[in-house]
């Protein structure tokens, strides 16, 4: 099969891919990249692999993909016979993609706050936190509506890559000084996600004993 993932344990984006790999039961070669303090992802050798100098990168045979959202789509599209992680019906496909892109867009403010607080990145952290709260409020309002409609996942009756994409930086929001006391629907969704079979922990996100 030949799946190879360029990975860093503490990266939430890499964790998205590791989660789906696990849910799908996929074997892969993990190539650790010394993101911090080594900044290996910005070295000429790594820039050959991804000119944007970012993680994760997935190699699947001749295919090489960057951007965790794109990687999630590829893996779900290619390796999920059930079709559940990326549903194709017209009522679900658009909404799933919308939330997947939200995860790679507005939600990344939470990642920025975490990089600032935990790894010393210089950036406007107050602005990042404020933007993260805007994004979390939107997700919490959405999950609240879903609950009133009898559903507990972002789209539809079972988890999709929309849930996987949104999970890591939401679960790690505390690392960036973003609390979840105002987001009851998010808290319950995080707990449901962590209870999924084949869920794996990451540093800062414990598994249930």
């Amino acid at each position: 099969m030949g799946l190879r993932l360029y990975d860093y344990t503490l990266s939430g984006s890499c964790y998205k891919v590791r989660l789906l790999m696990n849910f799908l039961g996929l074997e892969y070669e993990r190539v650790p990249v010394d993101f911090y303090p080594g900044r290996e992802h910005k070295t000429p050798a790594f820039l050959e692999i991804n000119a944007l100098g970012q993680l994760p990168v997935l190699e699947d045979g001749a295919l090489r993909l960057r951007d965790s959202q794109a990687i999630l789509c590829h893996l779900a599209n290619t390796y999920d016979p059930s079709g559940k992680w990326l549903p194709r019906d017209s009522a679900s496909f658009g909404p799933v993609m919308m939330w997947v892109m939200f995860a790679g867009g507005e939600m990344m403010a939470a990642s920025a706050a975490r990089l600032h607080d935990a790894l010393g990145y210089q950036l406007d952290v107050e602005r990042a936190r404020a933007n993260a709260h805007v994004a979390f409020r939107i997700l919490d309002d959405h999950l609240t509506e879903r609950l009133l409609q009898g559903g507990r996942w972002i789209v539809g009756e079972h988890p999709t890559i929309a849930d996987i994409a949104c999970f890591p930086y939401t679960a790690l929001s505390g690392d960036g000084g973003i609390g979840q006391k105002d987001y009851p629907a998010i808290r319950n969704w995080l707990r449901a996600f962590r209870r999924l079979p084949r869920f794996k922990a990451a540093p800062g996100i414990p598994e249930f004993a």
């Binding site: 650790p32 010394d34 303090p37 080594g38 690392d175 540093p203």
Partner: protein, 294 residues
């Protein structure tokens, strides 16, 4: 943030960067005990350090020592000497700088967490401890008056994957630890090497307090492991520390309470009890909960 006036805190060598963090021609502005400082690396690689005034102008020059992969400075006139750690000079070891992690708590919460064994099965489940073996056996603590350091010895704990080498080999082991508090802002442990019981790996934490409840924790290690890469060793250690960070940032209060009624220790907390007694005796007030600082 105002600069501390606490003389005990000021008279310490405090880490402010890791070696190589500031590239030639670059500079790094940071804060130590409320004081803004600037580290400048000249083109020939020499490092210089100055206090920075509020208007950004450079003030007095500060001394620097580079050791154990770290860069230390001091704001005081008579700093406590840096500790001697012989393991860093042994040529067959991997010397590993894990970088620094920001933690919003007092430096003493970080030190106590490092000394603590009872959390290993809960916070580092299936790596440094297992839920089937939670008991912390009796150990000893002492105040070594010559060095004025607190030590905990005869510590033993069952670990499923005590180190990167152990994890790869898949064997659980009873790990033997010694802990050593070298100053109010630094702590280290000795743990027996996976397949060489007569030697110890050393893992050190040097803390840069920016303010009373804001720190950078730098980890540096001297490890006996011919097989793992430095990157893999860093990965293992960063994983452990990011798990601890969730605890550290969610203890209330962040300032350390020294009154014995505030928090309830058990026998497993002997090292923390010894550490708090020692801290109290130094008279340090920086990072200590106010009402009990006296």
């Amino acid at each position: 943030m105002s600069v501390t006036v606490d003389q005990i805190a000021l008279n310490q060598w405090i880490v402010c960067a890791w070696m190589g963090q500031v590239a030639p021609g670059a500079r790094r502005d940071t804060v130590v005990l409320g004081q803004r400082i600037r580290l400048t690396c000249l083109v020939d690689g020499a490092l210089a350090c100055h206090e920075l005034a509020a208007d950004g102008s450079a003030g007095r020059q500060l001394p620097l020592i580079q050791r154990y992969e770290m860069v230390f400075t001091t704001l005081g006139a008579e700093p406590r000497p840096l500790p001697e750690i012989a393991e860093f000079t042994e040529s067959d070891r991997k010397i590993v700088n894990c970088g620094s992690v920001g933690v919003n708590t007092s430096p003493y919460r970080i030190i106590e967490n490092f000394l603590d064994m009872a959390h290993l099965c809960f916070v580092h489940t299936d790596v440094l401890g297992s839920l089937d073996n939670t008991e912390v056996y009796s150990y000893k603590t002492e105040h070594r008056t010559g060095l004025d350091e607190v030590w905990a010895t005869d510590c033993a704990f069952f670990q499923p994957a005590a180190s990167k080498a152990a994890a790869v080999s898949g064997g659980g082991q009873l790990t033997h630890y010694k802990y050593r508090v070298m100053s109010p802002f630094s702590v280290m442990l000795y743990k027996n090497v996976y397949d060489e019981p007569d030697r110890d790996d050393v893992i050190c934490v040097f803390i840069q307090p920016l303010g009373e409840t804001q720190c950078f924790a730098y980890m540096t290690m001297a490890i006996v492991d011919a097989n793992s890469t430095v990157g893999e060793l860093i990965d293992f250690q960063q994983t452990i520390f990011l798990q601890d960070r969730v605890i550290l940032e969610n203890q209330r209060p962040a300032l350390l309470p020294l009154a014995t009624s505030a928090e309830i220790p058990t026998r497993a907390d002997l090292s923390s009890i010894a550490f708090r007694r020692w801290l109290k005796a130094t008279g340090i007030r920086f990072g200590i909960l106010r009402a009990e600082a006296a």
